[in-house]
């Protein structure tokens, strides 16, 4: 007759098995978290680089009036549209220089996505975004909206700030002093410079904003 395990042996076996299963559970959870973080971060980097790259290229070749394409730079706090000169393909694949096109970037708070329209193509950016804010630097200071058609020409530059949606399901509004995850200021080629008399006021506003952040 074969002897069974003693109570002590069974308890030791159960303890080893629990420790082993616990270690496996912690390991797989950590692995899953790291994998999700890697995927999210790489998606955010790729997505925002495509948005910033498109705006930078458009700002480098922006035109004030694009005929059928509309006015040069038009935008508000959540979207911007830039008419710029592009290179198109004509008959037999020949390049047509100075063809005009429009690059439009807009944020939809409902779907929490940024859409990027270039010419006839529309891309929905994959990374979820909590908020995108666009500001326009005119010769006399920052503005929340800009329209070339109102005789304003070009803004000195455009600032785009993006806060990614990393905790899904949060509906509360973003605090005013929240530091953006990515932010870049784009200089519009051919635009005037800031009025030197306005610089001191702009600096004061910037210092006040920094103090608020602290």
């Amino acid at each position: 007759m074969t002897r069974g395990f003693s109570l002590l042996e069974a308890l030791v076996g159960v303890a080893i098995a629990s420790a082993f299963l616990g270690a496996i559970a912690i390991f797989t959870t950590n692995l899953g978290d790291s994998r999700a973080r890697l995927a999210r971060s790489s998606r955010e980097i790729v997505c925002i680089e495509s948005v910033f790259g498109a705006i930078e290229r458009a700002c480098a070749s922006a035109v004030v009036s694009g005929g059928q394409q509309g006015a040069g730079i038009v935008g508000n706090e959540t979207s911007v549209r830039i008419v710029c000169s592009t290179i198109g393909l004509g008959r037999d694949g020949q390049q047509i220089f100075s063809e005009l096109g429009a690059t439009a970037v807009s944020f939809d708070p409902g779907s929490r996505r940024i859409s990027l329209r270039r010419g006839g193509s529309l891309d929905m950016i994959g990374a979820p975004v909590r908020e995108m804010r666009v500001r326009y630097l005119a010769v006399d200071g920052w503005q929340d909206a800009f329209d070339t058609a109102e005789g304003a020409g070009f803004p000195v530059g455009i600032e785009v700030s993006v806060w990614f949606d990393r905790a899904s399901g949060t509906e509360d509004e973003l605090p005013a002093d929240a530091v953006p995850d990515r932010s870049r200021f784009f200089r519009v080629m051919g635009a005037p410079r800031v009025d030197p008399l306005a610089i001191r006021r702009i600096d004061r506003e910037r210092e006040a904003a920094r103090e608020e952040q602290r």
């Binding site: 496996i24 971060s41 932010s183 702009i202």
Partner: protein, 145 residues
């Protein structure tokens, strides 16, 4: 009689050998799992560190490009050129004007350094260097190192 005793002893020895074998197998399995887990964890940690560095470089590039665009836009005066105070994320940018871009033009270089994990007394790591040609005007002249 002696044969029966010998048979019992050999049975007990075989059982203990088998139980010893089970323990050895368990220990071996745990060791293999620990080795595989540590290897995977270190690989995943290095990948996470890599993506963290990539994020840092991307933010550093944003900072450098922004500062040079501000310089070109006339937002930065000559007196502001130099090293900024480190931001909340530990990045600090230094802007300098270099010669050699052509008549009426200057080469501006922004160097971003990371103070977040800098050891006291050691030079902080340079995470991004960005150059841009800007129009030379009053207030934007070649800087002395």
């Amino acid at each position: 009689m002696n044969d029966r005793r010998d048979g019992r002893k050999s049975q007990t020895g075989a059982r203990s050998r088998r139980r010893g074998g089970i323990l050895l197998e368990l220990l071996l399995a745990i060791a293999l799992f620990a080795a595989a887990a540590s290897f995977t964890t270190s690989a995943m940690r290095s990948a996470v560190d890599g993506i963290r560095r990539t994020e840092l470089r991307a933010r550093a590039f944003d900072l450098a490009a922004t500062r040079l665009a501000e310089l070109d836009a006339g937002l930065i005066a000559a007196s502001d050129l130099g090293e900024d105070r480190p931001r909340a994320d530990g990045l600090s940018v230094r802007v300098e004007i270099l010669p050699g871009a052509g008549v009426g033009l200057s080469r501006a270089r922004a160097t971003v350094r990371d103070f977040s994990d800098a050891v006291e007394g050691a030079e902080p790591t340079i995470v991004a260097v960005h150059e841009r040609v800007v129009e030379q005007r009053e207030g934007v002249r070649e800087s002395r190192r």
